[in-house]
């Protein structure tokens, strides 16, 4: 089973994404902040990451940078809130494969994921 790491500080978002992904046959691991995301990434080596940008204890961009430092091939898709265009640019510069704006269409998430997984 392909393993995906879902990172968001809102529990509701994690539950929702986990449901969506497991419904499509993925195995899901979760983290609730950037710090935890880095640890879980190292321990679990997921095939891809879906990660929120604004989080306490390390933002998504900081975690992205660390994850990419550890694994330059890491496939990370950012989940961004409305009005965070400037942060999307930062994230792409830091090596994010793609981004999805919240509130997202589930199909859009699955498409971005499939593209990233190649």
């Amino acid at each position: 089973m392909t393993k995906i790491l879902v990172v968001d500080d809102a529990k509701f978002m994690r539950v929702r994404l986990t449901k969506l992904l497991s419904g499509h046959g993925y195995e899901v691991v979760e983290a609730e902040n950037g710090e935890e995301a880095v640890q879980v990434y190292k321990a679990e080596r997921p095939a891809a990451v879906l990660m929120d940008i604004t989080m306490p204890q390390k933002t998504g961009i900081e975690a992205l940078t660390e994850i990419r430092g550890f694994d330059p091939q890491a496939k990370v898709i950012m989940l961004t809130a409305l009005g965070q265009e400037s942060m999307v640019v930062q994230a792409v510069q830091a090596g994010a494969r793609d981004y999805v704006v919240k509130p997202f269409d589930p199909d859009r998430v699955m498409l971005a994921l499939k593209k990233a997984l190649g």
Binding site: A10, K11, F12, R16, A81, L82, K102, P103, F104
Partner: protein
């Protein structure tokens, strides 16, 4: 409207709420709220045309909480940046449960308490509502306007509404300007009050009092 970073929050509010283009601007901003809530919930959410009201503090509870002791869920946020103010969205407790069920893809009736998941879902509703509204204002005026992280309050309606009044503290205001609307789903099961409230600075209050 062009970018002008020297405009004060009060002047920008006046421009947004009663300028030449404000009707179109507010309609577009509310439509964006409805579109994004519809996307989030997968249901058709509509928003009534917003009304601009001047509400004396003594009438605030009557305005915001027709049944003052009704068990309710409020999402409270501040408006920060070049526009300053606050925003409140209030749901009846049962409506909130219903909404959480939709957001979680659960059967109606599954959610029975506002636990951590339910609260984070309501926080997201607040966040997306206000961000969708402010984003349009931001795009159209060229100013930076952002919502604060939301606070979810589960309490009697009057207690939730009174949180809005506390924010008049630093302004010697006995009235509030409220952009007041209601959003609902196509089935009219959910009805929520959505308020956008400029900080009651002397300049803006003077403007709307004499209008």
């Amino acid at each position: 409207m062009s970018s002008n970073n020297t405009v004060s929050s009060a002047n920008l509010w006046v421009e947004v709420l009663s300028g030449e283009n404000s009707q179109a601007l507010l309609d577009e901003a509310m439509k964006n709220v409805a579109d994004n809530l519809s996307m989030l919930t997968g249901r058709e959410i509509t928003i009534d045309p917003p009304m601009l009201k001047t509400v004396p503090l003594v009438d605030l509870l009557a305005h915001g909480a027709e049944s003052p002791e009704a068990e309710s869920v409020g999402v409270y946020l501040l408006i920060e940046g070049d526009l300053q103010g606050q925003s409140l969205i209030i749901f009846g407790l049962e409506d909130a449960f219903y909404l959480v069920d939709i957001l979680m893809g659960e059967e109606t009736g599954t959610t029975q308490a506002m636990d951590e998941v339910a609260q984070s879902a309501m926080a997201e509703i607040g966040n997306i509502s206000l961000a969708s509204f402010l984003n349009v204002l931001s795009d159209r005026t060229g100013h930076s306007i952002v919502p604060s992280p939301p606070a979810v309050i589960i309490d009697m309606a009057a207690s939730i509404v009174s949180a809005v009044a506390v924010n008049t503290m630093e302004f010697a205001a006995d009235q509030l300007i409220i952009l007041d609307t209601v959003f609902k789903d196509a089935g009219r099961i959910i009805q929520a009050k959505f308020w956008v409230i400029p900080n009651p600075e002397a300049n803006i209050m003077k403007y709307f009092k004499t209008k």
